[in-house]
């Protein structure tokens, strides 16, 4: 574990502030891009901040079928997301906490969030939410190996098990790494889309029974719990987006330049997601497993390429 020294305490503070305050910006950016592509002006980029403030003032309504487990879902998502955010580096700016093997903790924190969300969905006793929960666990069983295989490939390439070293050590520079790195990023992009409920896996704007996975699990939340749900979703976008961006970002000599590059990278990612969402349609439910298996194969090939 790398201990902090006084000279990087400001990096720490910046990291924490970014982690806490930046997430709601990303969905706003994505929605803006989608609106522009559709020829509308769309909601302001800061819309989610306004929504969260509004929801924090509202009273929550609970169903009589639910127990305390209903609230554990939103709480778990945000708590796990924040702790995972402490482990992942934002560009080449360093992370507050880094130790060998933190990749596993990172992946399992998201597993924890998923577990608690699924339970809170089942707590309502509705068939709709049960359906979403069933689909969620089935698809995540396919997404997990893709994530882990990508980690394995990067761990082999960088001979280290710490998240920060893995993501920042291998740049696009070395020719031998280019092929496997692209495959890993493709696999992780698929996992990103699946975990964050983006088209083509899931449509965040739909409310049709046939097509929902993540939306349907949070139907009954309102007020402050719902605020946590929305915030948790955007937190996931930030953290997984950082995971995706880090191997690609170049290293700049100054710290503020690195922060700027990170912001730019994240913005580019949001724009890319918005473009993908605008230009493609959602897959049929039966094609989603094939899509995820493609992700597994990409990561697996990346690993195998590194073996030979």
């Amino acid at each position: 574990m790398s201990l902090p020294s006084l000279t990087v305490s400001t990096q720490w503070v910046l990291h924490l502030l970014t982690l806490l305050l930046l997430p709601p910006l990303i969905p706003g950016l994505i929605n803006k891009v989608k609106a522009v592509m559709a020829g509308r002006s769309g909601p302001p980029v800061l819309q989610l901040y306004y929504d969260l403030a509004k929801l924090a003032r509202k009273q929550a309504v609970f169903s009589r079928t639910t127990t305390w487990v209903f609230l554990a879902g939103p709480v778990g998502t945000v708590a796990a997301g924040l702790v995972a955010g402490l482990l992942v580096p934002f560009g080449h700016t360093g992370t507050p906490l880094s130790f060998e093997g933190d990749v596993i903790l990172f992946a399992y924190l998201f597993g924890l969030a998923r577990f608690l969300t699924v339970l809170s969905a089942l707590d309502t006793g509705s068939s709709f939410e049960g359906m979403g929960a069933a689909r969620e666990v089935a698809f995540s069983a396919l997404a997990e190996p893709a994530l882990f295989l990508g980690f394995a490939a990067l761990a082999k390439a960088s001979s280290s098990l710490s998240l920060s070293t893995m993501l920042l050590g291998s740049g696009l520079g070395s020719g031998r790494m280019a092929g496997p790195l692209i495959l890993v990023l493709v696999g992780w992009a698929i996992v990103f889309l699946a975990e964050n409920a983006r088209i083509p896996v899931d449509d965040p704007n739909t409310h049709l029974e046939l097509t929902m996975i993540h939306e349907v699990m949070v139907l009954d939340h309102s007020g402050r719990p719902f605020a946590l749900v929305l915030y948790g979703a955007s937190l996931k976008l930030l953290v997984l987006g950082a995971l995706l961006m880090d191997p690609v970002l170049p290293r700049a000599p100054q710290a503020w330049q690195n922060w700027l590059l990170f912001g730019a990278g994240l913005g580019a990612l949001a724009v890319a997601v918005g473009l993908v969402e605008s230009m493609s349609a959602r897959f049929r439910m039966t094609k989603v497993p094939q899509f995820l298996i493609a992700g597994i194969l990409a990561s697996a090939f990346a690993f195998l390429l590194l073996l030979v």
Partner: protein, 646 residues
Amino acid sequence: MSLYLIAVALLMCSGVPGLFLRRRGGEVAAGLMSLGALMGLTAAVRVLAGGPVATLVLPPAPLASAGLLTLDPLAALFALPVFLLTACAAVYGIGYWDNHQEHARTLRLVLGLLAASLAFLVVATHALPFLLGWEGMTISAFLLVLTEDRLPEVRRAAWLYLVCTHTGTLALFGAFALLSAATGQWTFSALPLGFAATGRGTALFLLCLFGFGFKAGIMPLHLWLPSTHAAAPSHVSAVMSGVMIKMGILGLVRLLCWIPDPPFWWGAVLMGLGALSGVLGVAFALGQHDLKRLLAYHSIENIGIILLGLGLGVLGKSTGHPVIQVLGFAGALLHVLNHSLFKGLLFLAAGSVIHATGTRDLERMGGLGQRMPWTSGAFLLGSWAISGLPPLNGFVSEWFIYLGSFRTLGLFRWPWSLLVLTALALIGALALACFAKAHGAVFLGAPRSEAAGGAHEAPRSMRVPMGILAAGCALIGLAPMLLAPALDRVVAALGEGTRVQPLAPLAHLPSLSLLALVLLGLAFLLWRWLRPLDPGRTMPTWDCGYAVSSPRMQYTASSFADGLVAGLRWALWPRSRGGKVAGCFPADHPFESHVPDLVLDRITDPAFQSLSMGAVLLRFLQGGKVHIYLLYVLLTLLTLLLWMVA
């Protein structure tokens, strides 16, 4: 050592006063068991904390060589779940199986005998006490499974268990004979270098794998596990699943202690079997709708994880990488302890549910979280731990195994690390799905039947053991550093002859604990933030505007798991009947789906059926007349005599 032996004696006699007392037999038995457990735990913890290894030498005359009972760190580590879980089961039995139920007194008596045999087996380091303890454990477990012997499926399960376990014991006899031929004595001692690579070494490994594998429930030798755990009373299932099957693992670990130079392929075989058991175990669990069968299949899955760790350790030992060796063995041994804790907790909670609703069927439960809050919390904690999620203990042992497998990434030509990683990742995801299904179907939502609607919370005598086990899970999860020195000592015994590194700095346990505390702190703060505006629960579920929803419209356990079962049907071969509806307003139509056990129902049962049908052809030999049988004896005698002179 004397403390330990007094503990064993107390355990053995704990059920005896209950035979004569009219009431309060359960309390007396539980009290004696707890006293014995405390004494045994003290002795074990003393050895684990660095105390001297205690040895008892038994008189040689009946044993042909000095018999030994040794309380070394390995035995002490395995003794921890023995004492803890059996004491918890005894306390639980006060409320769960009181004198009004059938065979209550016999149950208490034989439970004490089982506990004593387990404690005796753990410290045996000589073939004869080991086999005596083994048989005692087998027979006591058989009698305990037969508690409700009026039901035919209970009788069948007990019979199946007896046959399977004795087949394994036969293999063990052969293994011990080989061992004593190689070392020249019956006491457990190290084998000479190079033995493991010979044909006899291979035979020893395979016999031990077969014999201990039957007891541990490694696929495909797991056929007795699901039905036996479902048929026994729940606290007995807890002891069986949490402790008894670990005795198979104890045997394998002792085998690894005797071999200073295991070959590479032993580790590969262990890892392969571990991956198979783990993935298939959890896959079969997904298809079950009987709560206790589901938990039994998860035991098979966790044995698979333990084998993955053991295989990794053997890999490290055989190739000379001490780090991998330490991480693999430590992960496997810690998972032994962890699994006994959370599986015991899960079975006790399941027993509480069955006690309250009278059914084991997941499709008839629901909504018990509001009616049985403590049991629900205990089951949730157990599910959380068994899915390997932070910050509880299941994560810590899987963490060790993950670290060890990541370390092998650069090392070998064959991608063993890939196998371990994908297997563990898949197991984790599927276990999460399965326990979301189990917890959701039982405790969440609305009750699906009247039995579930009228459930009541368990009495305090049943809640206290659950609380103790839950506290153990949380403690190990939040502060694993406490166990690191003990694990170091045990791993040192496994790695005799090689340099062994200490565990704590390797695995960054302090960072884990720190992050766990941060997680809990954040969760607490967020929870407090949610609290103020709670108006009470008076509304029905909104559910996007469904007007008339009934509890029967909820997702059932089988429908929840259906996607995954369909995806895994190449392994599970589910059977279903009915279900094809036609027309716009179809009439009522029955549907039934079932996932039978692959090995038992599709391989061994049909094989034995065809064998007995073939044997009918030989019926003519069995005339029924005593004279014919005596004639057979005479003819055999004549044949032997003639053969001898010819």
